[in-house]
Assembly symmetry: C2
Homo-oligomer: 353 residues x 2
């Protein structure tokens, strides 16, 4: 490998947040505190929902999985995320999901940051769940079931503990090793952690039920008789065409809240419903336009699929933190000839160096 | 700035081609030779056009310009380009166009390369023009007019000289300084270079007319009476909604060839035409399904806007060259926990290091 040219111009350089930088940024502030800060950014951005240039994510499907681009803009900054989803990856020693993204200035199109987003996506997904639960979950919720103890589990648990006062998490996974891993990771966090031997056992006494399983098929993690009155369902795992987690009968009994309807109809639990079925855009609840939870017995369902503005909010937070802490390196990413029209001359002159 | 963790796993690392690396790769092979190699890749990929997952680029428009994502896949690799277009940038000392992109494996979604693409886009645009001209221009063409002497001018000139036997380029630009820059850059390349004082003068005696101006508005670089029989028009600059270069009457006299019709109807010169106007997909000419140039007097028009598969072809070439030459560095871009489900544990354990 050759070394970088040590002297490109300032305009050529773009800050890069590696995995190592991201971990430093997150650990210096604290995982829960970072989730809380991203949740505040997400909520503030949902409050100005109509400012954003919104589009469903742009997928490229294959037999093995999907690669997606998720762009958005608020008129001042533009952000996009690249993210893949390959369910068979784990068995082959690869991550199911990898992500990275870019934040750029709208006025001149120059990127201001290139960043890892695998860790950041985990953080923002938990942060988004917290924003929704803040407006939809019973105020006195203290117990959360977490069905599916993969990569999301601890971020959800810790985030809900820190931001919403959840005191106990009840964990279940088809693979007991996943649960054992989560139990270990949550030791010493102040949470009461209960490993359960069935989904039924996990949701007993829980006011919030988080489902975050990873199967890429129509699954029924929860059936109708398992979900009692007054529960808030935080459904994370149903997030692509054909991939759902909840029995349709649960949806029929729930008030359903979504991020961006054109995307959720394609990817969320509501794939299972008729297109005229009533759903509520979460941003309207946050903005006070429509009510969230209206009664103790109501079942609220946040049908989360993950939307581009949430990644945007997370990128904005990490950009600010990276600039504050210095946890980044600069990449010579942009060609910057002395005369902008003289790209050829820049290349040709480099040959003589 | 903090240093990278020196010991992330192999799976975490993604090769990065900086501007400096790109210039080394291009200069070691030669600019014209690189354009020729990319042209061969583009032509081969056009021959298997139906293999590709195709979509019009995904734009985010603002008052100042546009930021676009251009994804495609051939089922084995996935590629996308980020590119902006900000016409006012040059006056402010910024590049009008910046680009970077990623090549990834479809089977597991892992990126295999992150690369600068500002220089690469210039090379592939010239390469695409050559592929089209190979099938559409008069075989005995020796003189090319280049209207607009900005960043594309020298790449087009040198590429056409090397690949198609063009012996003279006749240059014109509204700004004589741009022409003077191109004349300087093309010294010693074997081309006869003639600086002209009007578009009319430039196209005199030219069998190929390349238009590559940068205005983001309806312009009329060429009017109908200027274009004689038998000419091949290589129209590069009309490439976004509202941005065209040729008078509509020229289009009415030409046989028009395009890359990907759903995108060209939005961005190309054919914006000016009724949707039922006949156009020909260039890949069908290359595949021998339909004729290209059929007579000496025919005016052929390649209405080029730039399509994602061309960037894909260029990325594949540069990936091969980077691996061969070692001109890259590796970035710690992908989180790679020992247990793929234990993303949280990886972050938490890093705190103790």
């Amino acid at each position: 490998m050759t070394k970088h040219d040590p002297n490109p111009s300032r305009l050529a350089m773009v800050p890069f947040i590696s995995v190592d930088h991201m971990m430093r940024i997150v650990n210096e502030a604290g995982v829960a505190q970072t989730i809380a800060a991203i949740a505040d950014r997400i909520e503030a951005d949902f409050l100005r929902w109509e400012t954003f240039d919104k589009t469903p994510r742009v997928p490229s499907h294959s037999e093995e999985g999907v690669i997606e681009l998720m762009p958005t803009s608020d008129g001042e900054f533009y952000g996009f995320k690249y993210v893949n989803g390959h369910p068979a990856n784990m068995a082959r020693g690869f991550q199911t999901v990898n992500a990275f993204g870019v934040l750029a200035r709208v006025d001149n199109g120059y990127p201001v940051m290139f960043s890892e987003m695998t860790i950041l996506t985990a953080l923002r997904t938990a942060a988004m769940s917290i924003v929704a639960a803040r407006h939809l979950a019973p105020k006195d919720a203290r117990v959360m079931a977490v069905i599916g103890n993969g990569a999301q589990c601890e971020f959800q648990s810790l985030g809900f503990h820190h931001c919403l006062g959840i005191e106990e998490v009840r964990l279940w996974d088809i693979d007991p090793k996943a649960t054992a891993k989560a139990v270990r990771n949550l030791e010493g966090t102040g949470l009461t952690v209960t490993a359960c031997s069935s989904a039924e056992e996990a949701i007993t006494g829980a006011q919030i039920v988080t489902t975050c399983t990873a199967d890429k098929k129509q699954a029924t993690i929860l059936t109708d008789n398992m979900v009692g009155a007054g529960v808030h369902l935080n459904a994370i795992g149903g997030d692509s065409p054909g991939k759902t987690e909840l029995h349709r009968d649960i949806l029929m009994r729930s008030d359903i809240f979504v991020e961006y309807p054109p995307q959720t109809w394609i990817e969320g639990e509501i794939q299972q419903l008729a297109p005229e079925h009533p759903i509520t855009e979460l941003w309207r609840v946050i903005a006070g336009q429509v009510p969230g939870r209206t009664s103790r017995d109501q079942i609220t369902l946040f049908d989360s699929v993950g939307f581009a503005t949430e990644d945007f909010s997370a990128l904005r937070h990490i950009h600010a933190e990276a600039m504050r802490t210095g946890h980044y390196v600069e990449l010579d990413l942009l060609a910057d000839p002395d005369d902008p029209r003289d790209l050829f001359g820049m290349v040709a002159r480099a040959a003589g160096q």
